[in-house]
Symmetry: C2
Subunit: 110 residues, 2 copies
DNA sequence: TTGCTTGTTGGCTATATTGCCAAATAGCAA
DNA sequence: TTGCTATTTGGCAATATAGCCAACAAGCAA
């Protein structure tokens, strides 16, 4: 594997890794609708504030969100609005998985 | 977070996690061009066969590739050809990161 | 100032991932 | 059969990730 290609793949992998967590996907989806402060996201996710703050830090470091301190709150918003469209393909993978499971179940029951 | 939404996000996260590794991204890109046997991919990646085999297993379990045993070789191919397009957005994130770093460097040197 | 709220960071433990080697499995050919 | 090749699986050690609590920082209000 050429070194340049390897570095590129590593960079891509980092972005995907940042996305590869249910809470972080939730955050992305919510920020698609509107900017949110940490306290709102914490409330919605139902985890410790520190946990949510760390998830946001992961997303920020990956270049996916930006933060905006206002008063004693910190608001986050999406930096890349394409991120959401981009799940169309992931969805088709999930649908295919579902079809497969259904087919398997029908086979078992027949 | 509603349980149904949570499950959906967990399923998405699993697919993204399967993609979030340089070697596995390499495999996806190669399989976009043509099907490949494990030995070819191993040669290209330059890791142990067992390591590559495990990466392929991760991709298969995520529903991203399918395997096809022929003789004593196993050929893999993409199951979802949309996966590649789907990187357009990841690329724009990387480009933005690059622009930012460049701006930072210019600031330092000025 | 003090006290309250909002976030971030450090430290910890539990868990997951990675990548190697070694062992097992399966096909093919002599 | 034996031997060779291709692949998968088990096991292990090193490393990374997740999520909690505690401590800290910063804004604001009394």
């Amino acid at each position: 594997m050429y070194s340049k290609r390897k570095k590129h793949l590593e960079a891509r992998a980092k972005v995907l890794k940042a996305l590869a967590h249910p809470s972080r996907l939730f955050i992305i989806e919510e920020l698609e609708k509107a900017e949110r402060c940490v306290c709102e996201l914490t409330e919605m996710i139902g985890a410790d504030v520190s946990t949510v703050s760390k998830h946001l830090s992961v997303l920020r470091q990956a270049g996916l969100v930006v933060d905006d301190k206002r008063g004693n709150q910190v608001f986050y918003r999406l930096r890349m609005h394409c991120i959401l469209n981009f799940f169309g393909c992931v969805e088709s993978v999930l649908e295919a998985q579902l079809r497969e499971q259904t087919a398997l179940l029908e086979k078992v029951h027949s």
